[in-house]
């Protein structure tokens, strides 16, 4: 057993997912919360590629899922950063607790 197995990659992506969730739940700064979301999406991508390689090597569906996830993550990050910059102009802060202007 010298090559990398599926279980190794699943362990890596599971731990990465846990770290991302920890960051998302404890951070109160919008930019660092966005970074935690990127970590979570990366662990999901790793899972898709590993399952494609080891369990279904005769088609490439996992690879295409990964491609589309990367594209949509880029669009999501751009829109989120535009919203954060707009929020910063109004409240002079990027803390989640300060973004309450839609609160009645």
């Amino acid at each position: 057993m010298s090559a990398i197995g599926l279980n190794d990659i699943l362990l890596l992506s599971g731990l990465l997912f846990i770290i991302g969730i920890y960051g998302f739940l404890t951070r109160r700064n919008l930019i660092t919360m966005l970074m935690s979301i990127e970590l979570i999406l990366n662990s999901v991508n790793l899972n898709f590629v590993a399952f494609n390689k080891y369990l279904h090597p005769n088609n490439l569906d996992g690879l295409f899922f990964t491609l589309f996830i990367i594209t949509i993550a880029a669009a999501e990050a751009a829109v989120a950063i535009a919203i954060i910059i707009n929020l910063y102009r109004q409240t002079k802060s990027v803390d989640v607790n300060d973004g309450n202007s839609m609160h009645y």
Binding site: N7, L12, H56, T66, T71, V79
Partner: protein, 170 residues
């Protein structure tokens, strides 16, 4: 054996950089640690022989998203400023719950044996990926491809409209 040792070193780099990115108190340090974590994941893709995904990972995440994050850090706050760290009770409670979840996850994955497929593998070369991505037959991905292109156009226009400086006269 060497492959496995390299894999463990790279995964140690990924997990360590991700952990520091999540617990550090400076935003710019968090962004740089995130960069190393994403580069390590591109290395894992290279080790799995998915070169195209690795190239996309480097060009989109490392070259695009991290640069965007660093620019937004410069626009919204002082680069050396310390963030407020989470309250110790909240951090401990989250870490405890996620630790239990992670322990259960490790036990489950380590004790499960997957049946590896014996089918003939398709090599994920650029030619196969390109022709299947633009294929209109049963296993083609032309409709999601067009949908994603439309989504990117909408995101482009939406970003400009949202981040535009509002004029005084309306």
């Amino acid at each position: 054996m060497e492959t496995k040792i390299i894999f463990y070193i790279v995964s140690l780099v990924i997990l360590g950089a991700a952990l520091f990115s999540v617990i550090t108190s400076k935003v710019l340090h968090a962004a740089v640690f995130l960069l190393f974590s994403l580069l390590g994941i591109a290395g894992i893709y290279f080790m799995l022989d998915y070169e195209f995904i690795a190239a996309v990972q480097i060009s989109v995440y490392v070259g695009g998203i991290v640069v965007l994050v660093i620019f937004s850090v410069f626009l919204t706050q002082e680069a050396g400023e310390h963030m407020q760290l989470p309250k110790i009770g909240r951090a401990l409670a989250t870490a405890g719950i996620l630790g239990i979840t992670g322990w259960y996850l490790i036990q489950t994955i380590a004790g499960f044996s997957f049946k590896h497929s014996a089918e003939i593998a398709i090599a994920p070369t650029m030619k196969t990926i390109g022709s299947q991505l633009l294929d209109t037959n049963k296993f083609g991905f032309i409709i999601p491809f067009e949908g994603v292109s439309f989504l990117l156009l909408a995101a482009l226009i939406g970003c400009i409209v949202i981040a535009l400086k509002p004029t005084k006269k309306i």
